[in-house]
């Protein structure tokens, strides 16, 4: 999927800087801020709503809210585009 409009909520207060979310993202949406020791959600438009970052976070800092309608299937029939 490209150009998706999924939302990622992140609570920096609870974050312990374990870096797991950064490692878990398989499409490089999440970068790591070495100074703040926190994740940066830099390329959210590439997010594929896999939920890995949310699932691995030990402090429940991350919530992924998919916008399924932003995912294009490339089918001929208009209703399934």
């Amino acid at each position: 999927m490209i150009d998706t409009k999924h939302t990622i909520l992140y609570d920096s207060e609870k974050c312990i800087g374990c870096k797991l979310c950064y490692k878990a993202c398989f499409v490089d949406v999440i970068r790591w801020d070495e100074t703040k020791k926190q994740p940066v959600f830099r390329y959210v438009e590439d997010c594929e709503h896999c939920f890995s970052c949310q699932a691995v976070c030990p402090k429940d800092c991350i919530t992924v809210i998919p916008d399924y309608s932003s995912e294009r299937l490339h089918q001929t029939f208009d209703c399934y585009r």
Binding site: C25, H49, L73, Q75, T76, Y80
Partner: protein, 561 residues
Amino acid sequence: MKYEIKELQTDVLVVGGGVGGLTAAISVKECDPDLSVTIIEKQTTGYAGKANKGGGVLQYFDLSRMTPEEFAEYHVHAIGCFLGDQDLMIKYVSMNNHMFDKMVEWGGKLPKNEDGSYRVMPTGPMTAMITVDLDVTLQFRRTAEKLGVKIFDKVTMSDLLTDKGAVSGATAYSILDGTFYVISAKTVILATGSQNYRIGSMWGSGRGDGIAAAYRSGAQMRNAEFGNFAQLVKIRSHNEVVFGENFMHNRLNENVTQNFRKEREPDISSTAIREWYVQMCEGNGPIHLDYGSQAWGGGERGGHGGGNAKPSYGEKFRMLNMKAAMNIDTDLEVCPLFLGEQSPVKVGHDMQTSISGLFAIGDASYCGSTAPGAVPAPPGRNRGSGILNAVFSGIMCAEGAAKNAKTAAPRVDKSQVEVSLQRTYAPLERKDGCTAKDVIRIIQSAVGPMEQSVYMRADRIAKALDLVLQAKELAKTMKAVDFHDLLACHEAEAMVLSAEMQFRAAEMRKESRGWFLREDYPEMDNDNWLKWIIVKNENGQMTFSTEDVPYEKWAVKPQGK
């Protein structure tokens, strides 16, 4: 250009840190602990590959109930349709229990019964399944590191280097800071996954850039036309419905599964996709699933490893996905979603490609190995074969890979490195141009529609190819704004290449066989098409030839042959 250049040396370079790459790295170390083994992974080893996000299903063969030869015979008729290498299939089945033992040894969590035997769930007369927790790749990573395997994450391979027809290493770059790596290696193992074209939300990491690098360096491709896997998904969440093809109903509530399926089949078939398309064209859509009194047949994602009360690694991840989808999936209307899964790097039984010292395993070479026959890469009508094939081919390549790494040090050709450096950073150096996504969008519009890529016909293939050629021209003008974007540009180039091979080979194969379905050539043609299509880069030209399937040497032969 102002990019930092680092030189690395290793005996064995593994490209891709998914389940296949990790298996190969561990297996080479087990073969010869003195060899230096390095993994480069464009994202993070252990997390990035598909096994970390899939169903965790492993195909189990009860070898006390049937022989590998019996399974191979069943497979030839039901799945591979005479295009599969029966010897390789027999080896794969024979190694089933050994693979599970190895996976457990390396940290994989496979549920066991009290008596120590694996907990097996039968799925049919010939097959059964067991599950593995999705942290399997993280466990394998730990094992690899303990054995001394060096891992470079966020480093993506750009080109393969060769010396007198043999592999001599690879170039790569960091997607974080753009550092360029020149890696000299005696053996290179490509474990870069398949080509998914980035349409399906099924979290496949395969963008075909490993396939493209192999092609550019002259490695042959085989069965590229079988890169057209599709799955039925719910129309809102796009979540796949495994086995949903058995319960398809149209707007008039007629059971349309019976139009293409007379008895239970192992998995989704392209005939189910054709039926959806035909029903839609006739105005009988939409298609929904009606399970009636039948038990729900899904559950690829149902299993979890561990076998204890603690929720498994995979459980949390699956629950989040299911919960989010539940809010939006108000009914069971379905449509097909293109996933691709092209896996065409041609390899022999030792997983060596046509370039000496270059091996390709897992989803990079599934169809190229011809093991599965006339179907796309996993799951390609053979659930649980994806992870296991990656493990199988990772183990199979190790001996040859290790032996090859004992040879004299390769010579890295400076002029090849210079060409690769220029090619790699060209999109960043351009002043302006189109984006990677402009190119990807066109490719997706070529491969995405079912009537272009799955239920094919000459005019529709031509239309798709036309789009691919437009994308090919546009790709020459791509402009990258940073290193993340640079990777997207290279992935877009790889998609153009994969799609071109796919449609040109599909145009050539004038028959229908297994998953491969043409409206204009609906019959299987054993007189003319017991052949594999070979694709090769000859001085920049994409060339096509055929190779006869050596069915004479295998036990199961086509009728009349």
